[in-house]
Structures are given as structure tokens and as C-alpha cells.
Amino acid sequence: MRRSCRQVTLLSAASRYWSSSPVAPPSKQSRLLLFLSQRFHDIETLLSWSSWFKNRGQSEWFRSDRRGKFSWDFMNHRDTSIEEVDVGNTLINYTGLENLVKQRGLRTLSVSGCAEVDDWFLSRLYIFQDTLEELDISNCPRISVGGLAALQKLRYTDQHGRK
């Protein structure tokens, strides 16, 4: 199931080693990272199947390695829920959020540096309103005041972002 169309974005993201959320140091709780790319069709299909990733006790990020290949270890943790997602510097947009919609336990989301994230994307984040604690929207050039008005729907979140 290898895709030959690995993108440069994946490679550049893979060079980052630890958490890309600049705020809190990683806690002892389970943290799973999943790099999603719009072209990563296999992962998108797997996500759309029933809940997976309920693993607690995992404290490393799942990410693709330097050559862009993604390890299949996450398949061992089929029933865990994803708690942190970092899709920084990808081309994720409003439609791409479909893939994340089922993750009801999401606590951290980082879309830092995504060029396609705009106000409509922010207006859709109400889905995570009960669980989202950290949201990183730094370096997203297409966000404006109208989108920030949408963030009032997130109740527990602590937002930070730089233009």
C-alpha cells in the first residue's frame, strides 16, 4: 500500500523530531502524532473506518521518516483515540478537516504555517469544542478577524497564535 506520490511537505515535516506545539512540554500521558496529508489516501480511508488509536501510554509521535515512509506501527494501536494532531505546514483546508471530524477526543491541534487554513476552517472547529485544549494557528496568512470570532465556540481552549 505504498504510495509513490510522497510530497516534499512530508519530508520537511519529518525532519522535526519532537513536538511541534511550542507551548507545553510533553506530558506523561499518551500522545500520538499522525501526519495527515491530503494525498495520504490510505490513512484517510483507515481513519474513516471506526475509531482507532485509543492507545494510552504511548509517548512518542507517529510521523513519517526522512524518506517519507510511514511506519505501520500505529496499526498495533487500533482502538485508541488520537489526542494530538500536528498538521503544520501542510495544505490542509476545510475539506481536509473531514478526516479529523471523527476524533472526538482531540486535545491539541496545530495548523501552524498552513497556507490554506482560512476563516471557514476555523469556523468548523466547533466540532472539537468540548475537548480541544490547545490550538496553534500561528503563521496562517489567510485568517482574519472574522475567523477569530468563530473561535468563541471552543470552550476550554487556550489559544495562541502569531500572524
Binding site: 476563516d119 471557514w120 469556523s123 466547533y126 472574522g146 477569530l148 470570532a149 468563530a150 465556540k153
Partner: protein, 480 residues
């Protein structure tokens, strides 16, 4: 143009023997072909100079009214035509400054919280359009469209009396796919601490695709794109129609007049000069003045108990909007709040300004011969505002303006479709305050009706003129 294409294909030399390519002879042939096409009847050429601000002598579709609905229809007609220059569309607008146009004087809100499924689908389709507006309306080498959409959502408050209506509406909205949530008074207080929940039993909050935007930007985006696609624009007033009448007799022996518009007379502003535009279809998108345009065709001027005696029930209704400044107000998080008393307000900009308004009772409707603001009317609004939001007890009215609703006196919902007696007049009017938010979807529906013969994506047959003839109103319960 058809003639031109045929002749140019026939006379063009084969690419393989390119002796004639780009020579003077080839250019002369081309000039001859163009002259021959112009000499044919149906071309725009006239031997003497005419005033260039006049509309063309012939157009396929004339859209009366250059507001957001009119330009949306023009854009979608061009978008859906099967071949290039398939239809010639002319938009006639009588006021180039748009000083009295309802579009630009609107508060600019969009919501999915309606009680009719058709209205909900129209709003959702329009929001989808606006989300991808640059895919639809961007013009090459020009700035991208920025609607300045504020995603604040609408918050409707219900008292004891109307809470059951709100619950029914909520299930209709959810079934149609709108993302709405119901809030109890405690949840409401937690979400909006600045609210006074006294008297509020239930609240309905739109989570997605709701908010407000800049109507002028949307109008200009449609206009710019439509003109770039070849729509003709004319600033003039439609003062009358020339039509042919076909009288038929019913089974009971009554005579019925079927009319067909042949020419639309467009008069230039401040001048007696007019141009009769020969047209195939006329779209009445004149907003608050649609009733007058319909009268020009004799709709409503027939004997009282016949179909031709039923007028188009659209008339202008004046509504006021007041800009108030309140430094301690709700702030950035303010949704577009609509109280059960009819008062609404929303944030305007980032400087502590809000705009507020209220729909008056039937008996208190203001005069519609001008757009003067009645400042006394604000005294009716202020107590409700201050009761609902205690911070609004000290506010200052900075300015105000008035605009017209194209109010459908029959059931406050749009009239979309053909008239039964005037075979080529289409209506897209009577939206009573929610024309702007439905305009992209209405434009697409009208284009489908005209070019494809029927509705394809959204079925708006519930909004046809038929319900006015049979006197069966479809009431929208959530009118602001």
C-alpha cells in the same frame, strides 16, 4: 456570430499550405467576413452613431434590477450557457450610485435558522458558494474577492410562548443538515455572560455557515465577474413593455389574455431618450420596485376575480438600522443576536460599535416614499436592548440609515418562477429581508429554470406564483 464562425471556417486556408497565412490578403478576407456579418440583420452595427450608454437593440434575456439577485442571475446564466456567447444578457439598473438599493443598505447577515426547508437549503448552498467564492468569482489579474465574512453565528432567543416553534424549527434545520444547537438558559449564560436571560426559555445558536459579510463586496464580485463573461450593463429605467396578446377562451367561456413581451423600453436617466430592447425573456429582479414593474405588464390590473387581477404582492417596506457605540459591550464574541421581541443587533467593526434594528408592527409601518430615518423609533428598540444586555444601558447612537425590504405581503417568502399569464416574465423577488443571503443559490436556480427548463439542484417550486393564485401561503415563521 454564428454566421461569422461558419464563414471563417469555410474560407480559412489549410494550415499545410500556409502561403496565405498572415498576409495582407488574409487580413482583407477577414475584414470582409466581419463586414458581411455586420450587414446581416441581428448584428449590432448601425450606420449612424448612437449614444453608447444606450443598451443594445437586441438581447436574449433582460434582467430588470441590478442588485445582488439580478447580478447573481446574470452570472449564473453566463456560467451555465453551453456555448460561448450562447445568451446575450442585459442587466438594467436605474441608479448607478445604488443609493436606494436594498442590497447595499442591508445588515448583511446569513443564517440557516429558518422554518422552511427550502430556505434552509438556499442558505446552505449560498454559504457553500461564499466559502469557495474565489473559485467562482475571481477574475484573472484582478484582486481576489474578500467578503470579510464574520463567522459569529446567529443566536435566536425564545420566550415561553414561542419555545415550541423554536424546537420544531430546530428539528427541521437539523434534518436539512444545518449545524444548529439548542441552549438552555444556564448554558446560554455560561456562553454569553453579558446576557440577561430573564424571560428566555430556549436559545438556538448556529454553529457553522452563519454570520455576516459585506454586501457591497458580493455585489461587486458578481458584477465584475459577469461583465468579464460578457454581460451587458445599462443604467436606465424600464418604463414599459411592448407585448403581444393572445386571447384564449376557457371551457366556461371566460376570456384569458396570454401576453408575450416583445420589447422592454429602457429610458435613460434624466433624459427622454429611450431604447426599446427586443428580448426573449425578462427577469423581474427589481427588489422593492418589482410590484411596479409587474404593473407595467398589466399584472394585477385585470378584473378582480381573475388571474390577471392578482397583483404581484411585493411592496417596499422601510426598515431602520442604528449604529450605536458602547465601550463595555459584549465585544468580539458577539453573535448576531435576535430577541423574541423582534430586536436584533450585531457587532460592527472592532471599535465597540454595534448595529441594531427592529421590525415594526404592521400598524406602525413607516412611510416608504423616502429613506429618511425616524430617530424616535430607536426609543422602541433601546428598552429591549438594555433589558437583554445590561451593558447597553449606556450607549450612544452614532448614526443610522434606512433601507427597503422587498416585502412579500402574502407570506414573506420569495417568489421564484414564471407568471402564468405573461409567458416570458420570470420573477426573483419578494424575499422580505433575506434576498441577499440567498442570492447565489437563487441565481443558480433561476439560471437552471431559464436554460434547463426546470430546477436541477434545489427544487424551489414551492416558491412559484401558483401559491399566490391559489391563495395558499407558505409562511416562514422566523422572519426578522
Amino acid at each position: 456570430t454564428c454566421f461569422k464562425d461558419i464563414t471563417s471556417n469555410a474560407l480559412r486556408p489549410n494550415r499545410n499550405n500556409n502561403i496565405f497565412l498572415n498576409t495582407d490578403l488574409e487580413n482583407q478576407f477577414k475584414a470582409f467576413r466581419e463586414k458581411a456579418a455586420d450587414a446581416m440583420p441581428g448584428s449590432d452595427w448601425t450606420p449612424f452613431e448612437k449614444n453608447s450608454s444606450l443598451p443594445p437593440e437586441r438581447a436574449d434575456i433582460v434582467i430588470v434590477g441590478g442588485g445582488v439577485v439580478g447580478w447573481s442571475i446574470a452570472y449564473w446564466l453566463k456560467q451555465k450557457e453551453m456555448i460561448r456567447d450562447g445568451v446575450r444578457v442585459l442587466v438594467v439598473e436605474r441608479d448607478p450610485t445604488y443609493s436606494q438599493a436594498s442590497t447595499v443598505l442591508s445588515a448583511g447577515g446569513i443564517r440557516q435558522q429558518f422554518s422552511l426547508p427550502e430556505n434552509i437549503h438556499l442558505s446552505m448552498a449560498s454559504a457553500d458558494f461564499m466559502r469557495n467564492i474565489n473559485e467562482h468569482l475571481s477574475v484573472l489579474n484582478d484582486d481576489p474577492v474578500d467578503l470579510q465574512f464574520n463567522h459569529s453565528g446567529y443566536l435566536f432567543l425564545a420566550s415561553e410562548k414561542v419555545a415550541h416553534i423554536m424546537e420544531e424549527n430546530y428539528s427541521t434545520q437539523r434534518y436539512a443538515g444545518a449545524k444548529v444547537s439548542l441552549l438552555s438558559p444556564t448554558q446560554l449564560k455560561e456562553k454569553c455572560p453579558w446576557i440577561n436571560t430573564d424571560g428566555v426559555v430556549l436559545a438556538s445558536y448556529g454553529l457553522e455557515n452563519e454570520g455576516w459579510f459585506d454586501p457591497w463586496m458580493l455585489l461587486n464580485a458578481f458584477r465584475r465577474k459577469a461583465i468579464s463573461m460578457g454581460v451587458y450593463q445599462c443604467f436606465g429605467e424600464v418604463t414599459g413593455f411592448s407585448y403581444t396578446t393572445n386571447t384564449m377562451t376557457t371551457a366556461e367561456g371566460d376570456k384569458v389574455d396570454f401576453r408575450r413581451i416583445k420589447y422592454a423600453n429602457v429610458q435613460m436617466p434624466n433624459s427622454l431618450e429611450y431604447q426599446p430592447v427586443e428580448c426573449a425573456i425578462v427577469v423581474n429582479a427589481a427588489g422593492a420596485l418589482s410590484g411596479k414593474v409587474a404593473e407595467m405588464m398589466g399584472i394585477g390590473l385585470g378584473p378582480k376575480d381573475t388571474i390577471s387581477g392578482i397583483p404581484l404582492p411585493v411592496e417596499p417596506r422601510k426598515r431602520f438600522i442604528y449604529v450605536v457605540h458602547c465601550p463595555n459591550g459584549p465585544g468580539l464574541d458577539t453573535p448576531f443576536l435576535v430577541d423574541y421581541s423582534g430586536v436584533y443587533f450585531r457587532r460592527e467593526g472592532l471599535g465597540g460599535n454595534y448595529i441594531a434594528g427592529m421590525s415594526p408592527e404592521e400598524e406602525e409601518e413607516p412611510e416608504t416614499n423616502n429613506l429618511e430615518v425616524d430617530h424616535q423609533f430607536f426609543q422602541n428598540i433601546w428598552p429591549h436592548l438594555a433589558h437583554r444586555v445590561p451593558a447597553f444601558e449606556c450607549l450612544k447612537v452614532k448614526s443610522a440609515w434606512a433601507g427597503f425590504y422587498d416585502y412579500n405581503t402574502f407570506d414573506q417568502n420569495g417568489i421564484v418562477g414564471m407568471h402564468p399569464l405573461v409567458n416570458n416574465m420570470f420573477f426573483a423577488t419578494g424575499f422580505s429581508g433575506h434576498g441577499l443571503q440567498h442570492s447565489p443559490a437563487i441565481g443558480r436556480a433561476m439560471a437552471e429554470l431559464i436554460l434547463d427548463g426546470g430546477f436541477k439542484t434545489l427544487d424551489l417550486s414551492a416558491f412559484s406564483f401558483k401559491r399566490i393564485m391559489t391563495k395558499e401561503p407558505i409562511l416562514e415563521r422566523n422572519i426578522v
